[in-house]
Every structure is written in C-alpha cells, then in structure tokens.
C-alpha cells in the first residue's frame, strides 16, 4: 500500500490547528461589560478613552479591559456590581448623545483576538430577547402617493393654463377629463415632460379621459423609500434603548426585523417602535432669543426652542408652514456649484403653503423643528433597565429663504456630513408609512440558558452513544471515525465563529444530526472494507478500495442533503436559517474529516505493518 501523501498530512494538521484556534474563543466565557456608542452613529472622538478612564477613576471602578471595538467602546469588568456602577457613572458623565448599554464581552485573550478569532453569536432562542417582525403598509403608501397626484396634477395643469373638466381617483391611478382632444393632448405632453415617472394612457372606453398611473419602477421606488424611511427611524429609536448588539434589518420587500438581545419588556419597546417622529417648517422670529431664554418671557405668537447642535435658543412662530406628513422625499445631494445640499420635495398642499409663505418672506430665515419621543434608559438598584419616555423638540436646521419655491427646494450651505444627517432626520420626521407588528417573540433569559444546557447535554449523550457503538462495532476503525467526528465538530464551531453565523437551538439540533450523518460516511467506507476482506482481498488493498470506492457515493449523498439545506436557508428565517447553516457546514466539513481525517489515521497506523487481517471486526 502506498503511504498517504505527506502533503495530505500537512493539510490535515494545518486544518486541525486552525480549527482549534478559531473554535477556542467559545471556551473562554464572558465578562460583564459596558458598551458605549454615539447616538448619532458617528465615530467616537480620538481621546474618548481618556474621558472613559477619567470617569471610571472618579467612580472608583476597576476595569478589566477598555478599548475600541467596531466603532464602539467596550469596557469589561470582573463582576456585575462594577459593571453597573460604571454604567451609571458613565451615563452621568457622558450625558446625552451617547448610548451606554450593558452587555457581555468575550474573555478571549488578545493573541487569539489578533488573528480574528471570536466566539459564535448566539441566537435569541439561546440568550433571550425580543424579536419583532414589522410590516410596512404598502397599500397605504401607494394610496397616499396617488392622492398626492390627485392634487398635484390638476394644480400643474391650472398653472399651464390647460383646462380639465373633471378629476377622480381610481384604485391605483388618477383620471382627468377634458372637453376636447386638443386639450387632452396638450395636457398629455405637458404632463409627460414634468412627471416622467408617470405612465399616461387614454382608456379606450372614454376617449376624453387621461389616465395617469405610476410606472412600476416608480411604484417600487415609493415603497422602497417608505421602507428605508422606517428603517432609519427604527434604527434611531433602537439606538436609544441602550441595547447591546441590536439588529434592525430589512426582510423581503416590505418587512423589517428588529431583534433586541436581552430585552424582555416587549410592551415598552413596542410602544416605542410604533411611535413616529414629526417635523415642522416654521418661520423664525429674528428678535433676540437669549432674553426670552433668560427671563422665560416669550412673545405671544412665538415659542422658544433650542438648536440640536450647540443648544442655542431660537424663537419660532407658532404657525406651521409645512409638516412632516407633507414631506414626500428628502435626500442629500449636491447643488449646481457642487457643494453639499439637501433636496426636499413636498406634496401639493405643503407646496402651496410653502409657495405662499416664501413669496412674502424672501431673505428671511426659516427653521425645521424636529419632534420626537425619546426613551431614556436607566438601571435600578437591581440592575434592571428602567425606560422612560421623554418628548424632545429641537431645531435641526435654520436656513435663509433665497427665492420663491413650492414643491421642490434645496437647503444649501451645509457640510457634506451635515447634509447627510439632515436628510436622515427629515426622512425620520416625515410621517412614516404605517407599520404593523406582525410577529413578536419574547424569549426569557432562563429559557435561553436552559436551551443551551439541554442542547449541550443532548450533544454529549449523542456523541457518547455513537462513540460506544462505533468502537464496539468497528474496533480500532471505530476510534478513527470518532476522532474524525470530534474534529468535525471542532471545525463546525470554528466555521460558525469565522463566518459570524448565529447558533440557534435548531442549529444545535443540526450539529447533533451531523454526528449521525458524518459517521455514515465512515460506515459506508468500513462496510466496503469488510466486503473487500470477505472477497479475499489483502488488508491493505481492502483499505484502499474502501476509501476510493466510497468517495463518490458519499459526495453524491452529501450533495442531496445540501440541496435540502440550501432551500431551507433561502426560505427560512431566524432559527431555521441557523439550522440550515449549521447542517450545511457540518456536511461540507464531514466530507473532509470523515474521508481525509479517518484515512490519514488508518494509513498512519496500518500502512507500514504486515497484516493478516484488520481490527475492523
């Protein structure tokens, strides 16, 4: 028998070492920790570490580690008491603008971290938390868009002096009636220039009617916009919750998943996710606001507000020019000069009021007031989070009116980042499309811990039983198979850790199932070897034939299981996706460990010996 090629041993050993290294972080456990990020999502200041250590020194808390990780500052402690004291101190010292969350930090040592090794992420079913599935009401979004066209199109035609005789709204289109064909065609050409996103047709049944419908691309764009707007709003809100590692993600066309590990009071979170921010365009009273701020005496038509940046007092008129519900779109862009700007689109009624206002107020300032319900998270003596609502009203932009405008206008004179932030805030404040909560799953922390314990026990029992069976039945070769199986489990864990895949309870089930399937490959090989021996082949020839002939069969069988898992991955969500990933990974690694791994061992032990029979039965 030819000895197994040296390079195969080298590959096997390298894979073993890498597998062990990358699986190792899962053994270290976790320290209680505090995680800090800016509320706006901006990077932390360069000297942030000094601020933190000063605060910790004042509070007399000893930190175990304190450094930057993924744009967030992570401080780990030896015990939970220190963690809570530090969190309170940091919250007090840092003030608004920062999110301070309680979390856990892996104890993985520095040298492992430096090669990118990290523990697996645990799914909500293993660590507890809340999972929300929200659905954006698409029908409502589209209906509102059609309603806007119902006011916008006639207004445009009046401005162009093209007379129509009637207008109405159908399910997904606007219909305009005309007195004669000339007016209709004039309207059609004028509208098609101004509203290129609309498809204009004349229904055969009524030749004097023009039907305006959003093109499919436009309809999709509107839905996209509404969903993204909700995503932005939800992210802002979730950041305020002070939850470590929250997940806010779009799922499919109109759904949004929000996952909050460690949170169990779904009720409060739900009310927060459901609430919407609004904004108002208002005129600025140019008289000195500092007097009003100091004395508390505000002119009767005015209200006193502060700017978001710099907390400068400003007096605003009580009258609202346009509100968030009239905002159709807001995006950061560049103006004609190439400098950053925010481009805003209002709907028909908003545009009309804006036009009337700007006509009389060119050269005067106008402000955007942002109103939002904010959540403040504090921790009580027991370390439980206490969340309170607080209404926040801040001025996010003041700009001088440069000309008369209505439907579309730009805010210029901004830095690039300012433009970006303003656009996000404007979108968050526009009345978001209604959102329904279609699924909520709350998993208590005790259930999560139980699941881990049970999954672990089942895996150990499964492995033990398979081990006993294989060794009794296949003797030394059974031991090879078990060694390969253990390596397989290590590789699954390492692979999951490297891919940052989430381990779920079904994932643990998949790992246990993989043990059964991975051993199958060895059973197939060993039965083949026995068969060859029965047929009178020499032991060495039998080993070779067993491995060579079984290879393709095993590959074929594994491919069909993979097909099943790919389908599962494509359709599944959450825990089931975890199952699919774990099973797929397990099958791929088993193809390597069960064949190359166990073959190497068999060759290592038997290749150079003179044999009459094999210890395989």
């Amino acid at each position: 028998m030819q000895p197994y090629a040296t390079w195969k041993y080298v590959v096997l050993i390298v894979v073993m070492i890498l597998g062990a290294l990358y699986a190792a972080p899962n053994l270290y456990g976790e320290d209680p920790a505090v995680q800090i990020a800016t509320q706006s999502g901006d990077p932390l200041a360069n000297d942030f570490g000094d601020v933190v250590s000063k605060s910790l020194v004042t509070a007399n808390v000893q930190a175990k580690r304190s450094d930057l990780a993924n744009q967030q500052w992570l401080i780990s402690f030896n015990d939970e008491a220190a963690q809570r004291t530090a969190a309170d101190a940091l919250k007090r010292d840092l003030g608004n603008g920062y999110v301070v969350a309680l979390t856990f930090a892996s104890k993985t040592p520095e040298w492992l971290r430096s090669i990118g090794a990290k523990p697996m992420t645990l799914g909500l079913d293993l660590r507890g938390g809340v999972h929300f599935l929200l659905e954006v009401d698409i029908a409502d979004v589209q209906k509102k868009a059609v309603e806007r066209y119902l006011t916008d199109l006639p207004a445009f035609l009046r401005k162009q002096d093209i007379r129509y005789t009637g207008r109405r709204q159908t399910e997904n289109a606007v219909q305009l009636d005309f007195a004669d064909a000339d007016k209709l065609s004039a309207a059609k050409s004028a509208l098609s220039k101004e509203y290129s996103e609309l498809t204009l047709t004349v229904p055969p049944a009524s030749p004097m009617t023009l039907e305006a419908k959003m093109s499919d691309i436009e309809a999709k764009r509107i839905v996209d916009f509404a969903v993204k707007q909700n995503l932005t709003t939800l992210r802002n809100r979730v950041n305020q919750l002070g939850v470590a590692e929250p997940l806010v993600q779009r799922q499919g066309q109109s759904r949004i998943v929000v996952e909050l590990p460690g949170v169990t009071d779904a009720t409060q979170v739900e009310s927060l996710l459901g609430a919407t921010a609004t904004l108002e365009y208002r005129a600025v009273d140019e008289s000195d606001a500092s007097v009003a701020a100091a004395t508390g005496i505000v002119p009767p038509d005015d209200e006193l507000f502060y700017t978001r940046d710099g907390r400068r007092p400003v007096l605003l008129k009580k009258d609202v020019i346009a509100a968030g519900s009239q905002l159709v779109d807001a995006s950061s862009t560049v103006d004609q000069d190439g400098s950053p700007a925010v481009s805003v689109t209002l709907d028909g009624s908003g545009a009309k009021k804006m036009f009337d206002f700007t006509e009389k107020n060119v050269g005067k300032p106008m402000a955007v007031l942002f109103k939002e319900r904010e959540v403040v998270t504090n921790y009580n003596a027991k370390g439980e989070p206490m969340r309170e609502h607080r209404d926040v009203e801040e001025i996010i932009s003041i700009a001088t009116i440069r000309g008369v405008f209505g439907k579309r206008f730009q805010t210029t004179g901004l830095q690039s980042k300012e433009a970006h932030d303003l656009a996000i805030l404007l979108r968050a404040g526009a009345l978001a499309a209604p959102v329904d909560i279609v699924e909520v799953r709350t998993i208590g922390p005790s259930l999560g811990a139980d699941n881990i314990r049970r999954g672990f026990q089942a895996a150990v029992l499964g492995l033990a039983m398979v081990m006993v069976f294989m060794i009794i039945y296949y003797r030394v070769f059974g031991a090879f198979a078990i060694a390969a199986l253990v390596l397989n489990i290590v590789l699954i864990i390492a692979g999951m850790s490297i891919m940052s895949a989430t381990l779920t309870m079904p994932g643990i089930a998949a790992m246990v199932l993989t043990m059964g399937i991975a051993v199958d490959a060895n059973v197939l090989i060993y039965e083949r070897i026995r068969e060859e021996l029965r047929d009178g082949q020499t032991p060495h020839a039998s080993i070779e034939a067993g491995y060579d002939r079984a290879f393709l069969t095993i590959a074929d069988a594994n491919v069909t299981v993979l097909i099943g898992t790919i389908v599962l991955f494509a359709m599944g969500a959450g825990p089931v996706k975890g199952f699919a990933i774990t099973l797929a990974l397990g099958i791929v690694t088993s193809q390597f460990t069960a064949i190359v791994g166990s073959r190497s061992l068999a060759y290592l032990v038997f290749a150079k010996r003179k044999l009459k029979d094999l210890p395989i039965w």
Binding site: L133, E270, E439, M505, A557, V561, L583
Partner: protein, 309 residues
Amino acid sequence: MRIFAKVPNINFMAQRRTGLIVSSLLTIGVILLLVFRGLNFGIDFTGGVLVEVVYPQSVELDSVRQDLAAGGYHKPTVQYFGGTQDVLIRLAPEDKASSSEISAHVLQALGAEQKNVQLRRIEFVGPQVGDELTVNGSLAMLFAFIGIALYIMFRFEWKFAIGAIAALIHDAIMVLGFLSIFWVEFDLTTLAAILALIGYSNNETIVIFDRVRENLINQRKGTIYDVVNLSVNQTLLRSVITHVTTLLVCTALFLLGGASVHSFSVSMIVGVIVATYSSIYVSTGLAVALGVSREDLLPPEVKEIDEMP
C-alpha cells in the same frame, strides 16, 4: 463485532410488487388522513399567541384554564411542556389587540404576580405571516424535490430520479401521517426536520443506486433483477448501521434536548425508519418497475472503427 458473517442473500425484489402496492395504499391512506384530520399546526403557521410559563411547583392544567377563563380567554389550548410546572398556552389569533396587550392580559389572568409565575416566552404571530409560511414551506419542499431530482438525473438517469422522488414524497407523507396520528405539533423546526430528512432519506437511495450501477458495470451477466437484489443486500448492513447511529443521536436529542426539539427529533426518528424501507421498495422497486436497464447506466461505448468512412 459481526452481525452477519457474510453478505446476506435476501430476495428483496421478489416482493417488489407487493411492496409497491402496499406503499401506494399506505400513501393514499395517509393523504386521506391528512385531508380529514389535518396536522396540529403550531402558531408559526396558524398565527396566534403562545405563552410559556413556569410555576414554582406543579400545577393542574384545569386551574390554569379556570384562571384564563376568568380573564376572558375561553378557548385556550393549555398543555404541559416538559414537566408539570412548565405550561404552554395557545390562544387563537385575535383581531386588533396588540401582542403586548395580550401578553400583559394573559399574565394578569394567570395571577403571575401573586403566584410567582415566571414567563419563559411569548410568541405572537400575525395571521398573514402564518399564511405566507404555509405557502413558502410548500414551495420549499417542491424546490427541494426538483433540485434533488435534477441532481439524480444528472448523476444517474431519469428512471432513478423518479424512483428517488417517489421515495422522498412517500417518506415525507409518512412522517406527516405519524405527526397527524399522534397530534405532534408541526412548527417551523418540524418543517426543517422534514426538509433535512428528505436529503437524508435520499442518502439511502443514492447508496443503493450507486451500487447498482457499479455492479451493472462490473458484472455483465445476470438480470437487472439479480443485480438490484445483490446491491440491496450488499448495502443493507451499511444502512442498518447508519440508521443505528442516526437513531442514537436523534434519541439523545429527544431525551435531553428539551421540548423545543421534540417534534424535530420525533420526525427524524420516524423518517429514518421509514427511509430504510422506502429506499428498497419505493425508489429501487419503482426504478426496476419502470424498466431500468443495463444500457441506461453504462457509459456510452466507443464507436467502432468500421464506422469510419
């Protein structure tokens, strides 16, 4: 250790007609069962509210039901989940009420504060999500069938593909039938088990097919009937051993994995047992009945020189 001293010689194919007829009748019977009795769908599919709570000591289900009835919930499903302290409550989907309102109400009705009842989990699934999952789940099975069929056609031959798919459908239906008879909850994890099982049960079929092909190529004598019989006998041991190991791990999951993987492990256990039978009598039997021949599987012969001009 040897179970068989030599390769067994059982004439499996002698009963192949009986096997196919029995399988067909069973499948039809189970389909009728599924139509009339249906499955115990979990809230993943039906929508609704599921609450799992733990009492500090054993609790009577009737007293839980009374508490809930007093709180205005008249048709809850209440059952033990794991032990007699752990109770699972299912409520039908309600219109309008938000999930958190429902959960707060339920806990209040149970007297959670006074009785020190601990909340383990609350799941609320809207009806639209459930409907969609039913559609997606069915589609997933269909795609898995098609994917596997294409692969077998590519690696073997269409008669084998039909046999294999018939076996997969047979296995999936038998497991569903078992779940229906014993009224085991069918949730998303159970669906995952069935999809994994489809892949696993196909494993069996492929091992036999592979051996059939190898034997057809190596032994030019003997009818297809003999070759199939020989192949099934040769792979029988391996099937038994593999099933033992898979059954061992699934039993471990069933015993220790907790209630959340019960339906998963039960489906796997039943599926593995059914797959042993179906790989012989449904997939292989059907492929033979469809007239698989030696020519179907042999590599195309090199053309003789006399065809040269």
